[in-house]
């Protein structure tokens, strides 16, 4: 296997996620696109970790720890994000992001 296989797959998934964040109006769909982005980043971290491990077998798996921390932060982010979406839905009966324009100057 080439390292680039994994990195390019990560890049493709990242771009798909970025497209989703830009194109989607529904707030839950935007959060889902962010999850796709975070998963692609984790693939990159683990691929690089594997490369460094095979260069030096005694090396500790730092990349795995990073990936685990990203998974934990993503879980926290989804929890708070969906709570905010529910709050917005309760106040406005809609989660369309283009209607949230009060913070525009």
């Amino acid at each position: 296997m080439l390292l680039n296989q994994f990195l390019l797959l990560g890049a493709v998934l990242f771009c798909i996620g970025v497209y989703g964040v830009i194109a989607r109006k529904n707030a839950v769909m935007v959060l889902m696109s962010i999850e796709v982005i975070l998963n692609s980043v984790n693939i990159n971290l683990l691929a690089f970790d594997r490369i460094w491990m095979q260069a030096d077998p005694d090396r500790l798996p730092h990349g795995n720890v990073f990936a685990l921390y990203i998974i934990a932060v993503a879980a926290a982010e989804v929890g708070v994000g969906l709570a905010m979406v529910l709050l917005i839905y309760r106040n406005r009966r809609s989660i369309a992001l283009d209607e949230l324009s009060e913070m525009k100057g």
Binding site: L7, I22, N42, P57, R90
Partner: protein, 171 residues
């Protein structure tokens, strides 16, 4: 004993299948017009990611991915879909009016990243027979070198739990 070249062929076929599934379902997440179908496509993307982690010999991360993402985060997403009363069928109103701007942005980003990746890691190979990552090593790292970030992460999770309750509670 299987020859190393056979392992490489099998790994490449596996990688190709997983990559195809992930890209197809990721496109389903960002372009489908049914919110529940998008959530279920996201399950397939995450399962594909877990399979790739196994291929990269990171077994503990793969198991964590299945537990946390497919188990917990997806349930949260489905609750979010249900509680915001999304249409259960097709919903034509999921995209912004200017959704097409996303296409050139994503293609440009992919072009730049693909060029720089191919330019810098031309044929760095991943060996087929490295030993899987030892979970003991992962825990040693978390509780020694990354102890302070671990504490920070604990506070982030605590704050997220309290924040989610405060935000979502009806009073």
């Amino acid at each position: 004993m299987v020859a190393a070249s056979d392992i490489v062929v099998a790994q490449n076929i596996g990688f190709g299948l997983i990559a195809l599934v992930m890209v197809v379902f990721a496109l389903g997440v960002v372009s489908g017009s049914n919110v529940v179908h998008a959530a279920l496509s996201l399950v397939m993307v995450m399962a594909g990611a877990a399979a790739l982690y196994v291929l990269l010999a990171a077994e503990f991360v793969a198991v964590t991915q299945v537990l946390v993402y497919i188990g917990a985060v997806m349930v949260l997403f489905l609750f979010g879909v249900m509680l915001t009363r999304a249409k259960l069928g097709r919903d034509a109103d999921l995209n912004n009016r200017t959704w097409y701007i996303g296409i050139p942005v994503a293609v440009l980003l992919l072009g730049v990243m693909a060029y720089s990746l191919i330019d810098s890691f031309e044929d760095t190979k991943i060996a087929a027979d490295t030993a899987p990552v030892n979970t003991e090593d992962v825990s040693d790292l978390i509780f020694s070198a990354y102890l302070l970030p671990f504490w920070g992460l604990s506070f982030v999770l605590l704050a997220a739990v309290i924040g989610a309750i405060v935000l979502a509670r009806k009073d």
